[in-house]
Symmetry: C2
Subunit: 383 residues, 2 copies
């Protein structure tokens, strides 16, 4: 045997979720091994804390809206190192409950103490679904967003916290979220395709050798092997930091979320039919880029004094650790300014792991000439 | 948030094992998510099937000892793609039970059929601890060896299979195994150390920025962060394909295993005090290299006609996918021909995951001058 444990590929077949008559039941041990564990590393916390776009947005949302915090009770869902809880306290909160499922809770406690906020911030180690608070809170703050917003399915826990612990008048931080999709050009697809082709050439040589040296005919596995590699190289969405000029058409919204009212049901599946217009002369449609933004607007009866936006859209600046999720087309197609791309997008959770996603992305091209090209349907995985 | 699931680091904190009064109980779901899943990928199977040293050894052990297989019943523990079961059948076995815990069993079944051996080879999907065979077998064949022999703890399952299903006269393939350790020189340690130092410089800059930009003092986490990074960069054993001339002293045996009689108890802990003599003039002792070999000798009453060895020792040829596990010293020490290295080695299983290992490696130098240098003790992790 001989293998490095937890190879990235392994994520595809883990078993955190078992679905019995439609209702997903999660094995907590498996879920911890596959998911939470990552957040128990300070290295990973540092990565998030070094994301200036992320940090500035949360920092400003809190300190430019102190009226939401002064004298209030706050719940931080998934506090990690405790930064959002500490800011809430520094902004004037009377009491902050900082809930963290991993051992990172111990570091959060140290950090709170070192910053002299242990009278205000109470770090609770446990998962939000299991713990109990002594009171309801005025504000729920959380950084729950995964790649392309919903990967990790952590927002489920925030919704659970909201329904159990937010006062009827309470405010959500962030208050709104949106998922975006836009046609893009990229060289990535060509690389992925040649990686896949190289991998298959290699396999065919392997099959030949195994037959001649060891008398076993492996050719029956060529099809399943190519499917496995196609999935790996061509169907997995790719993390990428796109440059704005790689976006070749209008960006469209796939879903809008009001964090105050959305239910888990609402986010189990993201389905949208959108249309995007190509904005660049004679270019290649190589795929689609997906990203998100969240907003800190408070609530209608208790709005933010300063509305803050956190966007992970392609940017000429640093970008974020979320980057964008890129869904690549094989092969790309030539498009022209004015062509219309009609997209049928559908994203749902993987059966094997409710924190990973699968995407059906179908598109049709309506050329500016009026000519309609045949629809193409692609399956992708966000893992 | 935003993180790739199953980052390599995650292996360190998974939760496959919980120890209650000394007896380890394994959560099967977690164990599958962390361990078995890897073997469900054809890509990984191909890696192992492309290891010529591994393949040649098993191939020769079977086909140069047909008398162990002709007309016999065979059990292949962890058959994967089914190769060892197929060879056993091709060598003349009457019946072969090929047990595989992952979905790879389906591919094994296809492969068996495509090679017209479905009358002889029966593929059973399930873990060896759970399944039942209709009869006891004459031969148990298995490729159970992990990095440095015992990582993955898969041999437990082979022992279980042996105790339940091997006839009193039965033969084990392989029949014997040995763990080796030798002093080495390597540039790896310097790289790891500068990676670690760069990582800490980076952290200190981060702490400074977080204080000035966001008003939070992170310095209390500097010690735990450095410990986390020390473990990652300096205490994890490193996979390496050593060149023989990197071995600077005599190799010594840490443990010898008779696969016919060894118990799980015997392999829970590997403890040895060994002595190695430096064989190179004026060189650096940068650490220790660990590897293994296994032998196919049959059993005393029913020996192999042709004894075969599979070694993963440093080699000028291709080497194996196992390579060697390198335990690096920080800092290295100058040594000379004739110096003696006295090593106290102790390896046991990680509390969090019984398939991963922790190592205590203490050593003393007795210079050829007779002078004794102070003992140094190091902790390592094989993850």
């Amino acid at each position: 045997m001989g293998s490095a444990a937890n190879g990235a590929a392994a994520a595809a077949v883990d078993m955190a979720t078992s679905t019995s008559n439609g209702v997903a039941t999660v094995d907590k041990g498996v879920d911890f091994a596959n998911y939470f564990c990552t957040y128990a590393f300070l290295y990973h916390q540092k990565e998030m804390l070094s994301d200036r776009v992320r940090m500035d947005a949360y920092f400003n949302s809190v300190f430019k809206n102190k009226h939401h915090f002064i004298g209030k009770t706050v719940l931080d869902v998934g506090t990690g190192s405790g930064i959002l809880a500490i800011w809430s306290a520094q902004a004037g909160a009377k009491k902050v409950y900082a809930v963290e499922a991993t051992k990172m809770a111990e570091h959060a406690r140290e950090l709170v103490k070192a910053n002299n906020l242990h009278d205000v911030v109470e770090v609770i180690e446990g998962s939000i679904e299991d713990i109990t608070l002594p009171e309801k809170v005025d504000v729920i703050i959380s950084e729950w967003m995964g790649y392309f917003l919903l990967r990790e399915s952590m927002f489920d826990s925030v919704i659970c916290a909201r329904d159990r612990w937010l006062k009827p008048t309470g405010v959500m931080y962030p208050s709104h979220a949106r998922m975006w999709l836009a046609p893009i050009r990229s060289g990535l697809g060509d690389h992925k395709m040649s990686d896949y082709e190289g991998c298959m050439d290699d396999w065919l040589g392997f099959v030949k050798e195994t037959k001649s040296y060891y008398g076993v005919d492996m050719s029956v596995l060529t099809k399943p092997f190519s499917e496995e590699q196609k999935k790996y190289y061509l169907q997995n969405s790719v993390w990428n930091n796109l440059h704005p000029n790689q976006v070749v058409g209008t960006a469209t919204i796939l879903m809008e979320i009001d964090c105050l009212t959305v239910t888990v049901e609402d986010i189990l599946k993201v389905q949208a039919s959108v249309s995007s217009t190509i904005t660049k002369e004679d270019t290649r449609l190589c795929g689609f880029g997906g990203w998100f933004d969240v907003h800190f607007n408070g609530r209608e009866e208790n709005p933010a004094e300063c509305e803050v936006e956190l966007t992970t859209a392609p940017s000429i600046d640093d970008g974020t650790h979320w980057g964008q999720q890129v869904f690549l087309l094989h092969p790309p197609v030539r498009v022209n300014q004015g062509d219309e791309v009609l997209v049928n997008f559908s994203m749902s959770r993987s059966e094997e792991n409710h924190r990973l996603m699968k995407v059906d992305l179908g598109y049709k091209l309506r050329l500016s000439s009026g000519k309609m090209l045949l629809p193409v349907i692609n399956k992708f995985y966000i893992e």
